[in-house]
């Protein structure tokens, strides 16, 4: 189940959940449901009793890792080395526990020093990651009037102005942190859970991405999303003349590509009350239109609470491996 609990289901029950999952998301996002062949393929994957499943030899994809390491088995650089040398991760990420560009700005020299040490010791690409986290700029955490308090008071114009102001500050902070990380040798910058605070959050990520791409043509830039849908907290913000509020993965990807990112990470959240079969059909249906136009690598978020993986502290291996196999074989993703 989506909450990680074990249930026994018949093949017919799994089939019914797959069909319902794709129909629900197709209706919600106004996209086509999965084809019968795709549903049959998913049924084979999800009706298996195997604890672990995998793609065919030769079909392996790149595994990037936001939030690499646990911080409980040594220092952060040792975490990166462990992921590189024990787990065989393809791309690791240095990060700090206050996973926000605004927070990192105050400590950027020390973060840069850790990046420099990591670059000396790791062979695998090391990117630096954090959340754009637009909400941090509103009161009481930041200097700007809180748009979540202004909106219920019907102060719509003031709420919109506050988000625009916060957006500018966020872009400056991402740019500032990225400059220091590039100076320290970073291979890439990750903007993780972009859009978590809505369209202003997404706009800041896209704007910062375009600025960084112009300065650093070689730099890996990953934009991972917070959700399958961009919330219209502002409602009228645009990037390249297109309204960001209400965008589903296909349009999110078009914007991310236009901004110059290297990697797009779609995220589809889990319904904890439904089976993993229902959730994977829903997630693949949302993301499939994006894969049909992708010109850059797509690394689907397949982890705790997103991408068909249950929301629980220790996701079962059968759930994680089934989801991974499904995304690779049906959507032909480039990584996760």
């Amino acid at each position: 189940m989506g909450d990680g609990s074990m249930v026994e289901m018949t093949r017919s029950e799994i089939k019914a959940d797959l069909e319902e999952g794709t129909q629900v998301s197709a209706k919600r996002a106004k996209v086509d449901p999965l084809t019968q062949d795709e549903l049959d393929h998913l049924l084979d994957i999800y009706a298996s009793s195997a604890r672990f499943t995998a793609v065919d030899i030769g079909d392996e994809v790149v595994m990037s890792n936001d939030g690499t390491g646990t911080k409980h088995i040594g220092n952060r650089v040792q975490d990166l080395q462990t992921y590189e040398q024990v787990l065989g991760i393809d791309m690791v990420e240095l990060w700090q526990i206050d996973y926000s560009y605004k927070a990192i700005k105050t400590n950027v020299a020390h973060e840069g020093q850790s990046m420099k040490i990591a670059q000396m010791l790791c062979t695998t690409p090391v990117q630096y990651g954090a959340m754009p986290d637009l909400g941090r700029y509103s009161k009481p955490d930041g200097p700007i009037d809180n748009w979540s308090e202004l909106l219920p008071l019907m102060k719509v114009d003031e709420a919109r102005a506050a988000q625009v102001e916060a957006c500018k500050m966020l872009v400056e902070d991402i740019d500032y942190v990225a400059d220091h990380m590039v100076e320290a040798g970073a291979d890439g910058i990750d903007m993780d859970t972009t859009g978590a605070a809505g369209d202003g959050d997404f706009l800041a990520g896209l704007t910062a991405c375009r600025m960084l791409r112009e300065k650093y043509p070689f730099l890996g830039i990953e934009i991972g999303m917070a959700s399958e849908f961009v919330l219209g907290m502002h409602g009228q913000l645009e990037f390249d003349g297109e309204r960001l509020a209400g965008m589903w993965p296909k349009d999110q990807l078009r914007m991310v590509q236009a901004a110059g990112a290297s990697i797009y990470g779609p995220a589809v959240n889990i319904n904890t009350g439904k089976s993993t079969a229902w959730n994977i059909a829903r997630a693949i249906t949302f993301i499939k239109p994006a894969m049909e136009i992708a010109e850059i690598p797509v690394h689907v978020n397949v982890g705790m609470g997103v991408g068909g993986v249950p929301t629980c502290v220790y996701p079962p291996a059968d759930a994680t491996s089934r989801a991974s196999k499904a995304f690779v074989e049906i959507l032909k993703i480039d990584g996760y």
Partner: protein
């Protein structure tokens, strides 16, 4: 893909640096290494290739190679083999007076 056990880190670099999708990135790396895309996820095949080209291998109990390129050293060879700029390599060269430009 297996990271440094295979060629996962090399394919990842092409995705990051050149925005290549997976199939294109695998074909590019295989061409540069003189192997097939299928070899890229084969730990046995890649161990030989990585040693021959100085691309770094994983040190563990029964196989340590302190006399061969590893870590930052290996990244000099990866940049040359894949014909891509690696930021920390360019910074290293700048700071020890060997030239280099991270805007390459």
């Amino acid at each position: 893909m297996g990271g440094m056990r295979t060629a996962g880190d090399l394919v990842a670099r092409m995705q990051m640096t050149r925005r290549m999708r997976l199939k294109e990135a695998k074909a590019y790396v295989a061409d540069k290494l003189g192997c097939t895309p299928r070899d890229l996820s084969d730990p046995s095949a890649m161990e030989e290739i990585r040693i021959a080209k100085g691309l770094g291998t994983l040190p563990f109990t029964s196989s340590v190679r302190p006399g061969e390129a590893g870590m930052i050293e290996a990244k000099f060879n990866i940049a040359k083999t894949l014909d891509i700029p690696i930021n920390c390599v360019e910074r290293f060269k700048e700071r020890v007076g060997l030239g280099g430009s991270a805007t390459a």
